[in-house]
Symmetry: C2
Subunit: 475 residues, 2 copies
């Protein structure tokens, strides 16, 4: 069969309108979100059901055609972009966007892979429930991509990563079998089921290299009655760690966010998004953004945060504190955190790292790594922020004053290596929440023990012996 025969065979499965073959139609699917990678594809195939996904996979398996699954195309590591051979198909799951089921007693929702995250959040809100996964691209990313990359975000401290929010998966394997669904099409989603190997967690975070996630049953939580945000000024990341321990003791599971932001990061947001400003009259080296989600009421949540801040001031952990008195004040504080990436991008290119270390080592990591970078490249700027409660930093490096972008970006390799070597010495991970994709596929070999890489290869070879599932990603 030649390419047009394959295109016709795929059209017979999903309909001609859902097999995109010309350049203009394909363009949006071939370049990643960060515009680092552009590939080519034999076709963009848009199945409308699990059965269609399975039939497409069987066709590809028979003919050895590579499949690149894609959701909202918002990935940070090029995991959903095909290579330049033009031999693969991109399978876009966005047509599979139904909410199949929602049960308030089970506190669960069953959704298809192409559901946009914000749609799921809203469906939960509509029945007084919370789906706690929340991240910057929530308006366009899909849950299939969130699951495939085990996305993190701002609610991990309390609710865990996407993996922790998943009760059951429907998956099409590399040979076209459908697993995880009952005979009636329902996706299993039990709170307890110890009947053999944990197949679901093998596909979560595998970035489409072992099979295609087509639907999932996810956890919901009762909607909190109140959310209250506070901003605390601190001198050091070490003080922030002590504040974290105190907040966990005093607030328990009501503590749902604990974000560290350096003063430089705040300054960049203030410069580029002027309505948003630090609530403090004077500058402080660091700030922590905290959120309490309370099942009682706003007065109770505010009192809890006030009590915490008073004790933190007394203990000398913080220098100042502000508690949002309204939803709009709370949103303002959150913008100081959420706009950092965009504000930094407006200054020009920078070298990003999505890393994690054990929480207890974050302060040492920052001190040590800042010093190493300052010694190697005097004058470069550290824009340092992230999910302190999870040990996850977005540890970004910007050019020294007056340095050209080209000169600075030429340092990317050595800067990455210095940062990742430091992460490794502190027992951390070079990809905390963004995955490996094609971006860190080579780099990980430097840090992951050979025995673990070998085991990953064994699993890949067993589940996808032809290597048709998203080749060139992860491994």
């Amino acid at each position: 069969m030649n390419q047009s025969d394959h295109q016709a065979a795929l059209a017979a499965i999903v309909g001609a309108a859902n097999v995109l073959t010309n350049a203009a139609d394909q363009a949006a699917y071939l370049t990643d979100w960060r515009k680092h990678y552009t590939g080519r594809a034999m076709a963009i195939v848009r199945p409308g059901s699990t059965e269609e996904v399975a039939a497409v996979v069987r066709h590809c398996a028979t003919h050895g055609i590579a499949i690149v699954p894609q959701g909202g195309n918002t990935g940070m590591a090029g995991g959903a972009t095909p290579d330049t051979s033009g031999q693969a198909i991109v399978m876009s799951l966005t047509r599979m966007n139904r909410i199949r089921k929602l049960d308030v007693t089970d506190n669960s929702i069953t959704v298809e892979a192409g559901c946009v995250l914000a749609t799921i959040q809203q469906a939960a809100i509509n029945v007084d429930r919370l789906f706690p996964l929340s991240l910057a691209s929530e308006g366009s990313c899909t849950i299939g991509g969130n699951l495939s990359s085990n996305a993190g975000g701002t609610g991990v401290l309390r609710y865990g990563n996407t993996r922790d929010l998943c009760l059951g998966l429907e998956v099409v394997t590399a040979n076209g079998d459908i697993i995880g669904a009952r005979a009636d099409g329902e996706v299993r989603g039990l709170r307890k089921d110890n009947t053999g190997y944990d197949l679901k967690d093998l596909f979560i975070g595998a970035e489409g290299t072992l099979g295609i996630i087509t639907a999932a049953t996810l956890k919901l939580y009762p909607a909190p009655r109140a959310r209250v945000t506070a901003f605390a000024a601190l001198a050091t990341p070490r003080a922030a760690l002590q504040l974290l321990t105190l907040a966990q003791q005093r607030c328990g599971a009501t503590l749902t966010a604990f974000e560290l932001i350096s003063d430089l990061a705040i300054s960049l947001v203030e410069r580029h998004y002027p309505p948003h400003r630090s609530p403090f009259a004077v500058r402080h080296p660091y700030a922590v953004l905290m959120e309490i989600s309370d099942h009682e009421d706003e007065a109770h949540a505010t009192a809890m945060l006030e009590g915490l801040m008073e004790q933190a001031l007394e203990d000398g952990l913080i220098d100042d504190a502000a508690i949002a008195q309204s939803l709009s004040q709370s949103d303002d504080l959150w913008q100081l955190r959420e706009r950092v990436s965009e504000a930094q991008a407006m200054e020009g290119k920078n070298i990003k790292h999505d890393i994690s270390v054990p929480i207890s080592r974050i302060a040492d990591f920052i001190e040590t790594t800042d010093a190493l970078i300052a010694a190697a490249w005097p004058g470069v700027c550290m824009v340092n922020f992230g999910h302190l409660g999870d040990g996850n930093l977005h540890y970004n490096v910007s050019p020294a004053s007056g340095e050209t972008e080209a000169a600075f970006m030429a340092k990317q390799g050595p800067v990455n290596k210095l940062v990742y070597d430091s992460v490794e010495r502190f027992g951390g991970s070079i990809s905390a929440e963004h995955g490996l994709g094609q971006l860190k596929r080579e780099e990980i070999l430097r840090y992951k023990p050979a025995t673990e890489v070998a085991l990953m290869r064994t699993i890949k070879a067993a589940l996808d012996p032809q290597g048709i599932m998203n080749p060139g990603k992860v491994l």
Copy 2:
């Protein structure tokens, strides 16, 4: 090599004192906790370190010797008992019982597989932290067994199964590689790490059939400031479900236990453990035991429970309620739940089922299945209790009045089949928290889709091609 050569080779690795070959020394390792299975072994081998485990595995891999890993030997499904061939070794991990590390800022503890669960709980208490895994055998079960069977228990509603409490694993694979440990021997335990396949969750719940868990890094939580227990009288499981939803809304994450107990179950405890009595003057068909773990104080927790109970009475969900006013009252209420199994055993043998269904279907499941059983075997008694908040019931059947034990137990096969077929129709699991072991290894084939069984076999063949890891269990 003959058997005594192998015994000598193993003694050279772990020391002669740690290779048990005579019948008297071996006996305690060869029969399971419930005394359903007795096997034989070439030797009981008791390694003292991960390196010794790896060396033993390499010896066994070279010579095709089967390995049956064993912890506290408290399993409910015969998963740690060898077959009767006498060709396997039992590898007891109980000498590996060190707590390697505890970090209060990370809220994590690294323990060896042979650590007794209660020891880990106590280590956490000593630093004002909570390790929330709690189950009946906690005084003798080991964490390696808890992880290998993904144990549940009474804290799952809030904290999840053992899987959810694990941040990282050290494992010896079937070829004798050690994975999950850093070069310095520390077991990785990051809150976020998206650098490839989730190897850890493959070994959790695999019951030793894919590799041997030698150590783990586990989550700790801040110790709650107060725990308050309540007991509510209800007419039906359906009312209990409505109470669960109400409790989740009003108490959020402070709700840490929600157990259903039938009146017959309570009566059995009262008969056999007379100091423990229902707090209510009259009988009610069902009771719910609830626990609040509060990060504020006892007054706050008690007020929250009182408010909940008042509303539940007003809404007509419950008929009566009692809130424990002291630790000893609280312990009394818990005994009514925890003594059920023992009390039922004192009445004679019964047919047990550890099943789960979606939470929303529990009431329908009980009604339907009770009726089917009553029609098939008039007069038999249902002793029904369990973790309602997780959809997990211990749905046990006792003989009709006057029926001999032998006559009753002859029905075990058909009773199991009726119950499990009903579980399947309700979309449930035939093993919620006890695993498959050798007990349900055949039965699961009736209920798990063939595609999923095939995928499990593919994984087993890839990770343990010789089939030496705990053969005859799970698959």
